[in-house]
């Protein structure tokens, strides 16, 4: 399963199959600024530093342009890493809102 690293915060989590970046971080007790969580508002964009993501649902061009995709921007509520991926949050830090999950979450 892909490993997700949040470079801006030094957090590493193991993702499940077909899990989005947002789902994976939530499942490990972490939060950051999100909006609709359904791919429509664009507020949860993050920068992909390395690795590759795919989309299992359609994403509107007005939300994420081709140029942004090519420059490594992804919509974290919809982006599913297909390999070990490192991202960087924009102008904010990851918040640990559930320390129990941060300690005990497993990928299976």
């Amino acid at each position: 399963m892909p490993r997700l690293t949040v470079a801006s915060d030094g957090v590493v989590v193991e993702l499940r199959e077909d899990e989005t970046i947002l789902e994976g971080l939530h499942r490990h007790g972490y939060a950051y600024r999100t909006g609709c969580r359904r791919g429509g508002c664009a507020i949860c964009k993050v920068d992909v530093v390395s690795g590759e993501v795919r989309y299992t649902r359609p994403v509107a061009d007005t939300v994420l342009s081709d140029a942004e995709r090519q420059s490594g921007v992804c919509l974290s509520c919809r982006a599913v890493p297909v390999s070990d991926t490192t991202i960087s949050l924009r102008e904010e830090t990851l918040r640990c809102v559930n320390p129990l999950l941060a300690l005990y979450a497993t990928s299976h």
């Binding site: 359904r38 791919g39 429509g40 507020i43 649902r57 509107a60 061009d61």
Partner: protein
């Protein structure tokens, strides 16, 4: 002049199948037509053919329509909007399925707003002869009807003036930068009659739709709606809570494409001689979310 209500809201959705599941089975609307990649719905207490239109491809606002009482009302708005300086074009019957002749006005924000006086009557499941109080087998939250919308616009004052001077609305509440004479209006709630608001406008850097709302009948209905949203894994923005503005009770939530919806119940009756309520920007938290008294991180930053 008699514009009666916001008659329809038309938005884009990224995935039609998921959106249909949401609007039919969670919100509980009746599908009345599916044609050309668009699906048309009405609430159980609406008699016109449709009040919600969803269209596959993208996300966000397409247009909304206001229903006038008579064709002469449309002509009146056409004349006034033309003088006001907003582009007006005529639309013919059938351009929108089951909707008669009308006009389409483009606001300074680019939002298109249509005015019409005829839509095919679909009727109510409870009928109009000795009707029961509600349909026996409602689905999801069983939303009775479309209530209002809040648009993000780049010129609240100018667009408010259009809705007042050309459409006949009046503001029930405003958010202003200060109580000084030269204060700027940041947001306004406008009504056609006795409802608390039919459209609201919020000053914003982009011209989008913040939300459209379904009228619910009670706080109990709002609470039950939240329960249904939990069952259906609907992302809730905030609520159930109360607005300071309008006093209405509310849940903001998102459809499967990220368009914000609202369930709205309560709010006081309005009349044209009612003194307008003014909120200062420093009290915006209480004005929007009366209990927590602070904005969440999405209210002023997320729209489609």
């Amino acid at each position: 002049m008699a514009v009666m209500r916001m008659g329809y809201m038309h938005v884009r959705v990224t995935d039609l199948a998921e959106a249909k599941e949401h609007y039919a089975n969670t919100v509980g609307l009746y599908q009345t037509l599916e044609q050309d990649g668009r699906v048309y719905y009405k609430g159980w207490d609406e008699w016109d053919h449709h009040s919600i239109v969803i269209e596959e491809g993208g996300v966000g606002y397409v247009k909304c329509g206001f229903k006038c009482e008579r064709p002469e009302d449309i002509a009146d708005i056409e004349a006034k909007a033309t003088v006001y300086g907003y582009p007006v074009e005529r639309m013919v019957a059938g351009e929108n399925p089951e909707v008669g002749d009308g006009i389409r006005v483009t606001l300074a924000s680019g939002h298109q707003v249509e005015f019409y006086s005829h839509m095919t009557s679909y009727g109510l499941e409870v009928g109009t002869h000795n009707p029961d109080a509600f349909p026996r087998h409602m689905v999801g939250i069983g939303a009775p009807r479309l209530d209002h919308a809040l648009l993000w616009v780049n010129d609240v004052a100018g667009i408010e003036r259009f809705f007042m001077d050309c459409v006949g609305m009046y503001p029930t509440e405003r958010v202003v930068t200060s109580l000084d004479d030269d204060a700027k209006t940041l947001a306004t709630w406008l009504t056609l009659g006795e409802s608390n608001h039919d459209i609201a406008l919020l000053e914003a850097p982009e011209n989008k739709i913040h939300h459209f709302a379904f009228e619910m009948r009670s706080w109990d209905d709002i609470l039950k709606a939240a329960d249904i949203f939990a069952m259906d894994d609907v992302p809730i923005d905030i609520g159930p809570t109360r607005h300071g503005i309008t006093r209405g009770t509310t849940i903001y939530f998102f459809d499967p494409s990220g368009n914000r919806n609202e369930t709205f119940a309560g709010g006081y009756r309005c009349f044209r001689d009612r003194p307008m309520v003014t909120w200062t920007a420093d009290q915006l938290g209480k004005a929007i979310f009366y209990h927590s008294r602070e904005l969440n991180e999405r209210f002023l930053t997320v729209a489609t």
